[in-house]
């Protein structure tokens, strides 16, 4: 039996310990805010926080998540008003929006590590998150706004 916390709530899982956290969240818990994009750690759509650090849930097995605390986009802020989410909204970042849960989770992790990121920092840390709609320039803008650094 695997024990873990998801958005603060204790959970138990007795299925296949190799199952990726992504599919546990989506299919078992019905928390579909975390997205599938590649299943290989290549696109970042599935990004969550594992004990506060960004992790690709498609490449994190349930046994690796055991005993950890998982935060998903649904649990980021009670009213969807995390400063990064606010910056996302004020820049109208999403187009289709599919990648944006992952982008936001990654950006939150970035700002925790580098509260005043440079363009280079942003490139480096957001590099793993693909947006096929091409919202990168607004993502950059929103991150800078949330960080209070000059665009």
């Amino acid at each position: 039996m695997i024990q873990l916390k998801v958005n603060g709530a204790g959970r138990q899982f007795d299925g296949d310990p190799d199952m990726p956290l992504l599919w546990y969240l989506r299919d078992v818990l019905d928390m579909t805010g975390t997205k599938y994009g590649c299943g290989m750690g290549l696109c970042g759509a599935c990004t969550v926080h594992l004990d506060g650090a960004a992790a690709r849930s498609c490449s994190t097995s349930m046994k690796d998540a055991a005993g950890k605390s998982v935060t998903t986009i649904e649990g980021l802020a009670a009213h969807g008003d995390h400063p990064v989410q606010q910056a996302w909204k004020s820049n109208n970042v999403p187009q289709c929006g599919y990648c944006q849960s992952g982008q936001i989770m990654q950006a939150v992790a970035l700002l925790k590590e580098k509260p005043k990121p440079t363009d280079h920092d942003i490139d480096e840390i957001m590099q793993g998150n693909i947006c096929r709609c091409g919202t990168y320039q607004r993502i950059r803008q929103a991150i800078k706004q949330a960080a209070g650094v000059k665009a």
Binding site: W23, G37, Y136
Partner: protein
């Protein structure tokens, strides 16, 4: 069909609005433009708007939301014309139903084809509410005016909310179309403003529901192993190992394709399991023998050679003016170049996914589809049931780019549900998405010109060869379809006395389908690169040269250039190609990018390209740096566009920003190849798309103010990118890229 009707309360708005609501329908008859289907199909778009007794305005979005903002923007047009409070409007997504008119959200035409219908819906509702208030107060209707979700009678100061007037409104005869009064642009509340989309909050909080998120009670999960080569068939399957896995319920075999392929499921073996992951894992344990079928020898390198060889031979003439042969015979020198663009995959971030349930002879589906009516159609054909017995709900789409107008995956879910008697969710893996796409066509182009002493062409010949999308609907369509020729090939607007455009034949071996801007991609690449080559040979400024080739401002409908163009010519009466507008976007892009003062130097280059597609004029200036290691950086893109009137400037900008990135992906790194009939790319490591640092650092969008009819914005930003980037690379390095993607050429 130009009258405006009240739809009966038993009509199809029923499911959205409560009894007692006032419902207004506006059927409109229009001619389709730019749709990638049958050349002569008329279509009958219609939109609907309802008023609830509590004053809520319900507006139906019948087009699919895949990131353009359309399901917010079209309803906003109706709300504005009604002068409704947007906060008291509710947008409902339409199910697939031919009564709504065309729902294929494709071809960048939602605003072009439906803005009038939505304005009429709003204006009709406004006038009916004013008439109702006049009745209520026994005053002339001319004294009653809607103002922000209320009707006011100025002389007496009386007011009534929309809700209070619904009961009276129902009894009104709707105004005739010619009686409708419209707001003047200065009265617009929402049109022309950067209104946020209705899904913004959901998309920033993970609450948006996409096809891959849809669920039904009792649903099971399917993952399907499909024939590895297009047209292949299942011979036998050993599923013993797969079925041993915990959580696997059963396997199901699906029949292969019949002609014409259309949107049929590809067939194969499905694993049904308790969750997506188990289905995907168990599928790897299937032991399958395939008959690979007629395309097992398909190989991209040999095919490329075939395309380019064919392009060097005379083909079918699709446009002719003057006499190029005579001019070439006289010429002392000719310029020639061949260009190549490979197969491309759509790779929307959300792979194809759908849920469907077959029950009591009927199908209920929830799916990320650009065209729910096409889903109804293919499900009805695949299952042998009536189209009316298929209900297709449209979720949000995690990107579409044309892939999701082809609903084979919805038919898979419906077919599986019928076979196993439970609701089924089909989720494509990224590998499935790249292996079984409807690819953007691979194309070879050959260009030839001769010039006068100033470097201006006196004869211009262009040939393109590519497998046509027509193959999906009519086998052995060896030549391009008319709509493919209209996409940047038969309408090169240069003022050159002798011009000929040709198209050569080729057999097809994979599924082909339209991808964001379709044939414009390879056509613009060839035409705009070749233009740059001629300008370079003449040592002339590119902007000045392009303007020279466009010649005097004029409106072209191409009718004079040959019988093949009759159809294009007809459409072009409505949207003639206006070289004045084309010139203007070039001038704006040059001005705003500071072209005149920017000089390319080794390692640092500026390139320009321009194109016209979906009735929108676009020019882009791209600034690149090629560092000593040959690494390319796109510092800046200036896109000038004239799409006619626009509704939501922020979403228009976003589409062009996104097109710059999409165009960058296909230019720098996009390539699908086949070997032994099998597609070789499988995920983002070998089918890369632009990431943040590879995308243009800054894209400036310059929309040219215009009162012309609204045209497309979703696609027209894409075609200019490849030639603009490659022209900039030439300016920086002297290397001429004639084959995409750029990554195949060493830049250092």
């Amino acid at each position: 069909m130009n009258t405006i009707n009240i739809v009966s309360r038993r009509g199809f708005l029923e499911r959205f609005v409560s009894a007692g609501a006032l419902i207004i329908g506006v059927p409109v008859l229009q001619q389709v433009s730019g749709a990638a289907e049958v050349d002569d199909a008329p279509f009958h778009p219609s939109v609907y708007l309802g008023l609830e007794p509590d004053g809520t305005v319900v507006i139906i979005a019948h087009r699919s939301e895949m990131g353009t903002g359309i399901r917010s923007v079209l309803p906003m047009i109706a709300a504005d014309e009604l002068d409704a409070d947007w906060k008291r409007c509710k947008v409902e997504q339409a199910i697939g139903d031919p009564k709504y008119g065309d729902q294929n959200t494709d071809g960048s035409c939602s605003i072009t084809n439906f803005h009038t219908a939505f304005r009429e819906a709003g204006a009709t509702a406004r006038m009916m509410l004013e008439n109702s208030a006049a009745l209520k107060w026994s005053v002339p209707a001319s004294e009653c005016h809607v103002k922000f979700h209320e009707v006011l009678h100025a002389p007496s100061g009386r007011k009534a909310g929309f809700g209070e007037l619904v009961a009276l409104g129902i009894k009104q005869l709707p105004p005739k179309k010619e009686e409708l009064k419209f707001k003047s642009p200065s009265e617009y509340r929402y049109i022309g403003k950067d209104m946020p989309i209705i899904d913004l909050e959901d998309l920033c909080t993970g609450r948006g529901k996409f096809g891959i998120d849809a669920k039904m009670p009792g649903m099971v999960y399917a993952s399907i192993e499909r024939p590895p080569v297009f047209g292949g068939k299942l011979v036998s399957v050993d599923d013993a190992e797969a079925r041993k896995m915990r959580g696997v319920q059963q396997t199901v075999t699906l029949d292969g394709l019949k002609l014409p392929y259309g949107f049929q499921p590809l067939g194969g073996v499905a694993v049904i399991a308790d969750n997506t992951w188990t289905a995907m894992q168990a599928r790897k344990k299937l032991k399958i023998e395939w008959d690979l079928g007629p395309n097992a020898a398909y190989e991209s390198e040999a095919y490329k050679k075939q395309l380019l060889d064919t392009a060097r031979k005379p083909g079918k003439v699709v446009r002719n003016a003057g006499d190029v042969d005579a001019e070439f015979a006289r010429a002392s020198k000719v310029h020639e170049a061949a260009y190549y663009v490979p197969l491309l995959a759509h790779a929307p971030m959300e792979p194809p996914a759908a849920v469907a349930e077959f029950k009591d002879g009927k199908v209920l589906a929830y799916a990320a589809v650009q065209d729910p009516q096409a889903a109804q159609d293919i499900i009805s054909k695949t299952l042998g049931i009536d189209k009316k017995d298929v209900t297709c709900h449209v979720t949000l789409l995690g990107g579409g780019f044309g892939r999701k107008s082809k609903p084979d995956y919805v038919a898979e879910a419906a077919l599986l549900s019928k076979k196993i008697g439970k609701p089924v969710k089909v989720t494509w893996s990224r590998e499935d998405d790249l292996h079984f796409d409807y690819y953007h066509s691979v194309a070879g182009m050959y260009m030839k010109a001769t010039t006068d002493a100033k470097g201006r062409p006196t004869a211009w010949l262009q040939r393109s060869v590519f497998p046509s999308i027509g193959n999906m609907f009519a086998p052995n369509a060896d030549y391009a379809a008319g709509f493919e020729m209209e996409m940047g090939w038969i309408n090169v607007p240069y003022d050159i006395a002798n011009q000929r455009a040709e198209n050569g034949p080729v057999k097809n071996h994979v599924r082909i389908g339209w991808l964001r801007s379709v044939s414009n991609i390879y056509h613009a690449f060839a035409v705009q690169s070749f233009t740059d080559e001629l300008a370079a040979a003449a040592n002339r400024d590119r902007v000045e040269y392009m303007l020279d080739l466009l010649g005097e401002p004029r409106k072209m409908n191409m009718k004079e250039d040959g019988p093949h163009l009759a159809k294009a010519g007809d459409k072009m009466d409505q949207f003639p190609l206006d070289t004045a507008r084309w010139r203007r976007v070039i001038e704006v892009a040059a001005e705003r990018s500071g072209w005149a003062n920017k000089k390319s130097s080794p390692g640092h280059g500026f390139g320009i390209a321009s194109h016209w597609s979906f009735n929108t004029y676009v020019a882009a200036v791209v600034e690149v740096e090629v560092d000593q290691r040959g690494q390319l950086h796109i510092h800046r893109v200036d896109i000038a566009a004239d799409p006619g009137q626009i509704i939501n400037p922020d979403r228009v900008n976003a589409q062009f920003e996104g097109a710059a990135v999409f165009g960058t992906s296909l230019t720098l790194m996009g390539e699908i190849t086949a070997m032994d009939g099998k597609i070789q790319q499988s995920n983002f490591h070998n089918y890369p798309v632009a990431r943040m640092s590879e995308a243009p650092l800054k894209t400036h969008v310059h929309i040219v103010a215009s009162n012309e009819a609204p045209a497309g914005v979703g696609e027209p930003g894409v075609p200019v990118m490849a030639p603009a980037i490659c022209n900039a690379i030439f300016a920086a390095t002297g290397k001429r890229i004639r084959e995409l993607p750029v990554k195949k050429t060493k830049l250092a």
